[in-house]
């Protein structure tokens, strides 16, 4: 059977080029680091105690040839350590990794340059390091310098380069190594816009050439744009591995879905105006647990506890949801809901509660809840002060245009096209 680029092999039929099985890595962090012989000599019998830091605990996955594979996770989740183990910089404590083909790593924004050498020397050295012969590496030199747009600086020592130039050179070395597998850690986060675009162009070109890419990043947009599959690592374990959009959503969940930290300072602390004290204000999830953040399209459950600082006669409470730019996205007013025989007033020192569930059309971003309390509707009093109650993040992957997402029953259909002429045209 003959495969052409127009008829690509189905992804799941392509051979596995990276096979990671049950990889674990523990760093032993000394509580009291003995890193000198002197300390060892002064305290010869002191046992160094170690805190074991389980950075990776049994990670397994496969990457197939030509696949662009994203690894995402929060800082300290172990994703960079995993990449370093794959690049043979660290050794795994347990597990097995197998790879097919030549490897080009791009780690911590570099490929391991010696600052005392010129870029010319570094590029040749790096080529050899990535497995090229000395002549071959010499031949690639010009291509690398061209790509990095640094030909005129080729005899300058790297210590005199700007950080942007260094990243460009490092990336060029990685690209021109023409490896079968590229391991890339956070490249798109740096450099100017044109460099980021160049990186993306290169990645697309490499994809067409059937190369394999493992990309470690925080940037969900690039994961969704570039990757065929993505894996979420959290606390050294694989939480999810699948479609990039799915993984990105779960990434946002582990980032923002953490329960409210009880030790964190009360966001409403000290907020008051002449009419009321804010006793407490929080968001909660469906189970009644306090949360700081809300997933897109999930109802916002808001609770506010207030205490009157003076008699409030027929008070009106206004709630506004304000976006990061300060514009109010939506708002509403409420009066006290009265039971039979209850008076529409709150005596000084009396407590009342505003709470409930709000539909959530907000697009991902940071928002604030503001509240206005007017003392007496009858006397035409207005709210004297805005109370900043809390801020929260709406997370999700459907950015969309505008400030809110709405359900729209709208279809696009072909109206009166001439099907015959249309067919001839094609």
């Amino acid at each position: 059977m003959i495969f052409t680029s127009a008829m690509p092999v189905a992804a799941h039929e392509r051979p596995v080029v990276i096979e990671v099985r049950d990889v674990a890595k523990t760093f032993r962090v000394p509580e009291h680091r003995v890193d000198s012989l002197k300390e060892r000599a002064v305290h010869p019998f002191r046992r160094t105690t170690f805190r074991e830091q389980h950075v990776l605990q049994g990670v397994s996955f496969d990457v197939r040839r030509g696949e662009f594979f994203g690894i995402v996770g929060r800082n300290g989740s172990g994703k960079s350590t995993l990449l370093k183990i794959m690049a043979s910089i660290y050794r795994a404590d347990r597990g097995r990794i197998r790879m097919a083909g030549r490897l080009a790593p791009f780690i911590e924004l570099g490929v391991g340059f010696n600052m005392e050498m010129t870029s010319r020397e570094n590029v040749v050295l790096n080529g050899v390091m990535m497995g090229l012969g000395r002549r071959e590496a010499q031949r690639r030199l010009d291509a690398v310098l061209d790509f990095a747009e640094l030909a005129e600086f080729s005899d300058l020592k790297l210590k005199n380069y700007s950080s942007g130039m260094l990243v460009r050179l490092a990336f060029a070395v990685m690209v021109e190594a023409d490896a079968d597998i590229m391991l890339v850690d956070e490249v798109l986060a740096v450099g100017d816009a044109s460099f980021a675009q160049k990186c993306l162009d290169v990645f697309h070109e490499k994809r067409r050439a059937g190369r394999t890419l493992v990309l470690v990043t925080h940037d969900m947009a690039s994961v969704e744009e570039l990757c065929d599959r993505a894996m979420l690592i959290h606390d050294g374990e694989v939480l999810h591995c699948g479609a990039p959009a799915d993984t990105a959503l779960r990434y946002f969940r582990v980032n923002f879905d953490a329960p409210a930290d009880p030790a964190a300072p009360d966001p409403t602390g000290g907020v008051m105006d002449v009419n009321v004290d804010v006793v407490d204000a929080w968001l909660e999830d469906a189970q009644g647990e306090r949360v700081r953040n809300v997933e897109q399209q999930t109802p916002i459950r808001l609770q506010i506890a207030l205490r009157a600082r003076r008699d409030l006669d027929a008070p009106v409470i206004g709630i506004h949801v304000v976006d990061a730019l300060g514009s109010t996205v939506f708002g509403f007013n409420r009066r006290l809901t009265l039971g039979p025989g209850e008076e529409d007033r709150v005596p000084e020192g009396g407590r009342f509660r505003v709470g409930g569930t709000i539909e959530n059309p907000l697009v991902p971003g940071r928002y604030f809840v503001h509240c206005y309390v007017a003392r007496s509707r009858q006397q035409g009093d207005y709210a004297l002060q805005r109370l900043r109650l809390l801020d929260f993040v709406v997370f999700g992957i459907d950015k969309g245009p505008g400030a809110i997402t709405v359900d729209a029953d709208v279809q696009a259909v072909l109206e009166s096209g001439d099907p015959v002429r249309h067919r001839e045209a094609s």
Binding site: S36, R40, R91, G131, R134
Partner: protein, 280 residues
């Protein structure tokens, strides 16, 4: 068209000499040549500067030891011997003292690439070897001007240089391996290297110290190289290492230390190599 099937190979992590001999050799050679070029071509007086250190040391020591200790009269061709010994010991000293911090100094390379770790200290030794070659040219000129030699035994000198370089390599592997764990290895080594400088027959030939001390000094694994080098290069009538040690049997101790150092060097470096990137 189907791409050729690539075979899955185990990724074993970093090591002392991973990725094949060919690659390690290429890297080693490139680094050493770059270093050498930098010190010789980087400045107009590059070669002069690299000679200046041994020559100045030589001038000072020559004055002290001929004027104060009268060695010039007691030892045949003392000035040439002194210069030759300083250059020879300089190779060991330069290699080992640069090797101690070499892994730390190449942090960016070690942390970011699958670089065969042993190449870093080995390149240091190779660079020092190039320097030794350059310095020996001056020594030869000095020898001929002083009317010493040429002797047929000069041709044997490379035979001596090989085990001497091997010992230097072994020490240059031990030091950075220890230094990645204990950061004051470098400081201790500067003291130890100085002590070794005086414990090795560099400034003086062995036979001028008391017989008891002679036997002790001859245990130093560096000593036989200097004794033999003197006999082959400067003074064919000088004692052989066996004579200097007081019998061939006594040579077993420095020989044993030599083997021990080499075995320990390879073992300790191999043991530390996989973790070096983490210790930085």
């Amino acid at each position: 068209m189907s791409a050729p099937e690539l075979e899955l190979r185990d990724v074993r992590g970093p090591s002392a000499l991973g990725g094949g001999w060919r690659r390690s050799w290429d890297l080693l050679f490139l680094i050493a040549v770059n270093d050498f070029k930098r010190s010789y071509l980087g400045t107009a007086l590059g070669y002069v500067w690299s000679l200046a250190r041994p020559l100045l040391l030589f001038a000072v020591l020559l004055v002290v030891f001929t004027e104060a200790f009268n060695l010039g009269e007691r030892v045949q061709s003392y000035p040439v011997l002194l210069l030759f010994n300083i250059v020879l010991f300089g190779f060991f000293q330069e290699s080992t003292s640069a090797a101690v911090g070499s892994i730390l100094g190449q942090e960016s390379v070690v942390r970011k690439t699958q670089f065969p770790r042993a190449v870093i200290p080995l390149a240091v030794v190779l660079t020092a070897l190039f320097n030794l070659g350059a310095n020996l040219v001056v020594v030869v000129v000095f020898l001929l001007v002083s009317g010493v030699g040429p002797f047929a035994t000069w041709l044997l000198f490379p035979l001596l240089l090989v085990p001497y370089a091997v010992l230097t390599i072994a020490v240059s592997l031990i030091l950075p391996a220890l230094n990645s764990r204990y950061r004051d290895t470098g400081i201790l080594w500067t003291v130890a290297a100085t002590a070794l400088f005086y414990a090795t027959p560099v400034l003086y030939p062995l036979e001028i110290v008391s017989e008891k001390l002679q036997h002790i000094l001859a245990l130093n694994p560096l000593a036989p190289f200097f004794v033999l080098a003197r006999k082959w290069v400067i003074d064919p009538s000088a004692p052989t290492p066996a004579e200097a040690a007081g019998g061939a049997v006594w040579l077993l101790i420095p020989a044993g230390l030599f083997v021990l150092t080499c075995v320990f060097g390879v073992w300790v470096f191999n043991r530390e190599a996989p973790r070096m990137a983490e210790e930085l």
